[in-house]
């Protein structure tokens, strides 16, 4: 029993210590970090790193870019995936199943596999260095898993509900907005959180398609920071905290949904 509690404590510390160190380091100077990486800062916390990052202007821009890209990618992926899932569920024949197969095929292909041709396609279409470009590739990259999760859910909805609304004279669109969507809210919100985490944290696509500072998102900006400040950990960690803040705050309040969302993505992925 004691051993169990001890193990739980050790694991908790393994998660907590790095996070506390990140917080502490961000309010220390580089010299203090060198002298005593684990210690408290001398003479109180210093918020100079935060001020420096925001004075360097671009942080607000990166933040805005990440917000725009994430919001549009998540909402559009959800909408399109829900439509496809609805279509597959309604048709329930070989065409529907075939389309399901085509869409979910995408889950088998990691982004790194298509990055080379995708890069030249984006160049040809003039979609590099654009938020629109990022949003479009984001949608197509997470559409497969979103379709997979949502189809799985919609297939469990009682067919009678759809049939009843047909009798009431509802067309497909009405059935989608008035029956399928409201009933699918639990799985839609789980998928939304999964997508939110994926897109907010994504590095690969911005790395490939964005070189202009004006269009960089937070993870890419952080990576550039690393080049700029190499081992200036106080500065790097300040960036980490700013970039992670929205996700962490959301997690604290919506924990249950986060866990449901990300594990749904994992199990069905």
């Amino acid at each position: 029993m004691l051993f169990r509690k001890f193990s739980l404590l050790i694991y908790a510390l393994l998660i907590l210590i790095p996070l506390v160190v990140v917080l502490l380091t961000s309010v220390k100077t580089l010299q203090e970090t060198f002298r005593d990486p684990l210690g408290l800062p001398d003479g109180g916390f210093k918020f100079d790193n935060y001020i420096a990052i925001f004075q360097e202007q671009t942080m607000a821009g990166y933040f805005l870019n990440s917000t725009i890209v994430t919001l549009f990618s998540v909402s559009l992926t959800l909408l399109l995936a829900a439509m496809v899932a609805f279509g597959i569920t309604r048709m329930n024949n070989w065409i529907g199943n075939g389309l399901f197969g085509v869409f979910t095929l995408g889950m088998m292909v990691p982004a790194q596999v298509i990055m080379v041709p995708l890069y030249s396609l984006m160049l040809d279409l003039g979609l590099t260095n654009s938020l629109l470009g990022l949003i479009l590739v984001n949608i197509s990259s997470t559409l497969p898993i979103a379709v997979f999760i949502l189809t799985g859910f919609m297939k469990t909805l009682p067919r009678e509900l759809f049939e009843a609304s047909t009798i009431d004279g509802a067309g497909n669109w009405k059935m989608f907005t008035k029956v399928a969507i409201p009933l699918s809210l639990p799985s839609l919100s789980a998928t939304a959180i999964f997508l939110f985490v994926m897109h907010w944290n994504d590095l690969l696509y911005p790395l490939l398609f964005i070189t202009d500072n004006a269009y960089k998102t937070l993870p890419l900006a952080l990576l550039e920071f690393q080049g700029q400040y190499s081992t200036n950990y106080p500065m790097l960690f300040t960036g980490v905290i700013i970039a992670s803040a929205p996700m962490v705050i959301a997690y604290v309040f919506l924990q249950r949904y986060f866990v449901a969302g990300i594990t749904a993505g994992a199990v069905k992925g």
């Binding site: 790194q112 497909n172 989608f176 590095l203 199990v267």
Partner: protein
């Protein structure tokens, strides 16, 4: 029941985007894998299976990346699964403390890989890193070293980071699987005088098999595809000791502009991943569990 033709419109926007940004590049990768395209010029030549022959016989770095991928994957799969299972068994009951601990263990999953990379670069830092500091504190100085700079252990240092990052996610899947096992079975086992270990072996283990399959399959794919951590922490070094297939494709394509060759490696990578995913699907279908 007849379904009106308007249903086809529901597929259109998704299908257009998906075909353009996913299907088309996938088939292009296949196409370019038989060429010597440099990614910049218009012209290229067909070289047949030369790229593939080169990957398997003439490219020692590529062969090394496969080995590195396997080392990374096996370490992560074995230890992450064990950690997740062991701790899931301890925090299975829904007490307040356990719910809090599960939330805490899950926490790293929501961080970006770049953030995790920085945190662990600091932990491993040879001069001011926490790991060496802690080792000194407890009198294990002789173990202190350059964790990411030593070609023999760098890949394992990365594997530990990956486990820290995702073990909590797998733990939750195990908890869900364990909680689905009916309590009565344990009571029966108890009445029949089974020891704790016997109960685990004859009740928990067989009924946990579906979740274990999911965890192992998912971890396998996730660790095989890992890119960000390696890219941000070591960039494949030192001396290619942490170069994995995904980072190698990036290097070949965007540092040495061999798009044709990079495409061939992509195709090989795709085949490996597809095989693993197929096995996962099969396992999922046969078990029919859902959460």
């Amino acid at each position: 029941m007849k379904i009106s033709k308007s249903i086809y419109w529901f597929f259109l926007p998704g299908l257009v985007l998906y075909s353009l940004f996913f299907l088309y590049p996938t088939f292009s990768a296949l196409f370019y894998s038989f060429t010597d395209w440099d990614g910049l010029s218009e012209a290229f030549q067909f070289v047949g299976i030369d790229n593939y022959t080169r990957a398997f016989t003439g490219d020692s770095i590529f062969q090394k990346t496969i080995g590195n991928n396997l080392k990374f994957m096996l370490t992560v799969v074995v230890f992450q699964t064990l950690v997740a299972l062991a701790f899931a068994l301890i925090v299975i009951k829904n007490t307040k403390t356990n719910v809090f601990l599960r939330a805490l263990y899950f926490f790293p999953t929501i961080l970006s890989s770049v953030s995790v990379a920085f945190i662990w670069a600091f932990i491993y830092d040879p001069s001011m890193g926490i790991l060496n500091q802690v080792l000194q504190l407890v009198g294990l100085d002789f173990l202190a070293q350059n964790w990411l700079g030593n070609a023999n252990i760098a890949i394992y240092s990365l594997a530990i980071t990956q486990i820290w990052f995702h073990a909590g996610q797998m733990l939750i899947i195990f908890v869900a699987g364990l909680q689905a096992i009916p309590e009565e079975l344990y009571e029966v086992a108890k009445i029949e005088g089974a020891s704790k270990w016997q109960a685990f072996r004859s009740v928990t283990w067989p009924l946990l098999a579906p979740s274990a399959t999911i965890v192992v399959a998912y971890t396998t794919i996730q660790s095989f595809k890992a890119f960000d951590l390696v890219f941000a922490m070591t960039g494949g070094g030192p001396n290619n000791s942490t170069e994995i297939i995904a980072t190698y494709i990036y290097d070949v394509a965007f540092k040495s502009y061999q798009f044709g060759y990079a495409s061939s490696i992509s195709v090989i990578f795709m085949v490996i991943i597809a095989l693993i995913t197929y096995l996962q699907f099969k396992a999922l279908r046969s078990d029919r569990v859902s959460y």
